[in-house]
């Protein structure tokens, strides 16, 4: 039996390394194995090197490096099946959650946001990355790997953008714009160029390219579906007009009050004070709504123009505050104060018929939310812009009704 010397061991080890085996454990396994073969199977009278050269091909088909590659593959993709399973589950879960979330959102049911966010997250950060990983394993060509990698990264960007858009989070547009621009002008041409010249892929490539361009184009056309600036601009103009009318009516009321003779002045004093108190309460709600949603202080909020407000920001917080009876400034309290104001007018000598249509506190029935009370209709689904607009409208009506009241009182004399 030939005993392998240390020098020979070193020679074998160096040769194993030279042939491309880099994992130390594997090197030592192979060294021991080769030594065992030499010690157990080498016939007498054969040279060590000659025998070594003759047995080493037993370890591979073409080259020894295969062992390293095979080991790496087995270790790297030991989770291959687990990954595939996770992929299926993530796919099903994210589609179900997104569809359910969309249905919930349409019907204004609770939990819509949670479902959409969870669905979007599992789609963007579990499903798509797993597809990239598996595609990298399955695809042979490096170009294809690269092209698919880019495609799926852009898909992640777009799907996160869509999720942000649905949730009204900031940066949604920029995410979608970058994602879709990259997709339409980067990925699709790349996909087409790298595949169309391969005869077996030509037809599929052309069909897929057209489909992807169509989808990308539609998304491109859709991602800025916000308020049309015409609608926005006309709304601003209408609101400016109303503010103007509020100012005019304030002035008119002041002038009208100044014109009153002394005895009538005493008679209407209570109502004038009630109107002033109510208007001040309305102004406080107005300022508070702006402070709550626009990240500004009370001084700026009082003079803030509707054109410089962000629509829909913190709308849910505002709605919660305005519908909370515990808060100092809320819709129910406002309703009560309006009722008290009306009572003061009746006590001052007007009949209930006179006041029939004054500051309508009836509920409303809308297609979207069904039957609602007055406070729900105006504050329960409000945005800062709708609240401010309604409160301005209310101030205007209070002024006009008070002037009307003064006229009636004068006629009664």
């Amino acid at each position: 039996m030939h005993r392998v010397s240390e020098k020979e061991e070193q020679l074998i080890l160096d040769d194993i390394k030279r042939r491309g085996v880099v994992t130390e454990d594997l090197q030592h396994n192979l060294l021991d194995h080769v030594c065992c073969i030499i010690e157990n199977e080498m016939p007498e009278g054969v040279s060590f090197l000659g025998f070594y050269e003759s047995i080493i091909p037993r370890f591979f088909n073409k080259e020894l490096k295969e062992l390293q590659v095979e080991t790496d593959n087995l270790i790297r993709f030991k989770n291959y099946y687990a990954m595939k399973k996770t992929l299926y589950i993530a796919g099903i879960v994210s589609s179900l959650m997104t569809i359910l979330g969309a249905i919930f959102k349409t019907f204004h049911l609770q939990g819509a946001s949670v479902l959409i966010v969870l669905g979007g997250l599992s789609f963007s950060f579990i499903f798509l990355p797993l597809i990239i990983a598996l595609k990298f394993k399955d695809e042979e060509s490096k170009t294809d790997k690269l092209v698919f990698g880019i495609g799926f990264l852009l898909a992640i960007l777009v799907s996160v953008g869509v999720m942000f858009k649905l949730m009204h989070w900031p940066m949604a547009n920029i995410l979608m714009q970058v994602g879709i621009t990259g997709f339409v002008f980067g990925y699709v041409p790349l996909y087409f160029i790298t595949r169309v010249r391969r005869p077996e892929l030509k037809f599929n490539t052309m069909v897929n390219t057209v489909l992807m361009l169509a989808c990308g184009g539609f998304l491109y056309a859709m991602f800025n579906l916000g308020h049309s600036h015409y609608v926005r601009d006309s709304f601003f103009v209408m609101h400016q007009n109303m503010r103007h009318q509020v100012d005019n009516s304030n002035q008119e009321l002041e002038e009208r009050t100044a014109e009153l003779n002394d005895s009538l002045k005493i008679d209407v004093q209570n109502v004038l004070e009630a109107t002033a108190a109510l208007k001040s309460y309305i102004e406080r709600i107005r300022v508070n709504s702006i402070v709550t949603t626009q990240n500004t202080n009370e001084v700026n909020a009082a003079t803030m123009n509707i054109t410089s407000m962000s629509w829909g920001v913190s709308a849910e917080r505002l709605q919660d505050e305005l519908m909370d009876p515990e808060k100092e400034l809320n819709g129910l309290e406002l309703k009560q104060k309006i009722l008290d104001w009306k009572k003061t007018i009746v006590e001052s000598g007007l009949s209930d018929e006179d006041l029939e249509h004054w500051v309508d506190l009836d509920g409303m029935t809308t297609l979207e939310f069904g039957k609602q009370s007055w406070e729900e209709a105006h504050f329960g689904h409000a945005t800062v812009v709708s609240v401010v607009t309604y409160l301005d409208q209310l101030s205007l009506e209070l002024n006009m009704r008070t002037i009307q009241y003064l006229n009636i009182k004068e006629e009664q004399r």
């Binding site: 240390e6 061991e9 594997l26 194995h33 037993r58 370890f59 062992l67 080991t71 087995l74 270790i75």
Partner: protein, 119 residues
Amino acid sequence: MYICLMYSSELIKGTLKTIVLNLLKEEGRMYGYEITQRVKVLTEDKIQITEGALYPTLHALEKNGELETEKEYIGKRVRKYYRLTDQGLETANDRVSEFSDFVNTMKFLLDLEPRLGNA
């Protein structure tokens, strides 16, 4: 990657893990060369495991937690002994029963066991 003196490689593909796991279950601890030799002896040279297939499989099983290793020094050379972990034992049992079930199914499917009335 097998050298199979009697069987086509398609026939035995996928059984290497089962063979290695079951052998370690029977023998306790073994090193690479020993495994190849043991298989050779047990199957009377009908199946020979090549080194090219054995080591990647051993490394993958170890990484998976099915095997644990201990090192022994033979002079300056390191010999790595493999042994089943608890998880490996469970896998070995599962694999063997799955394979035996498969063999029975194949026997039935290929009509290898003469049944009454078939003669």
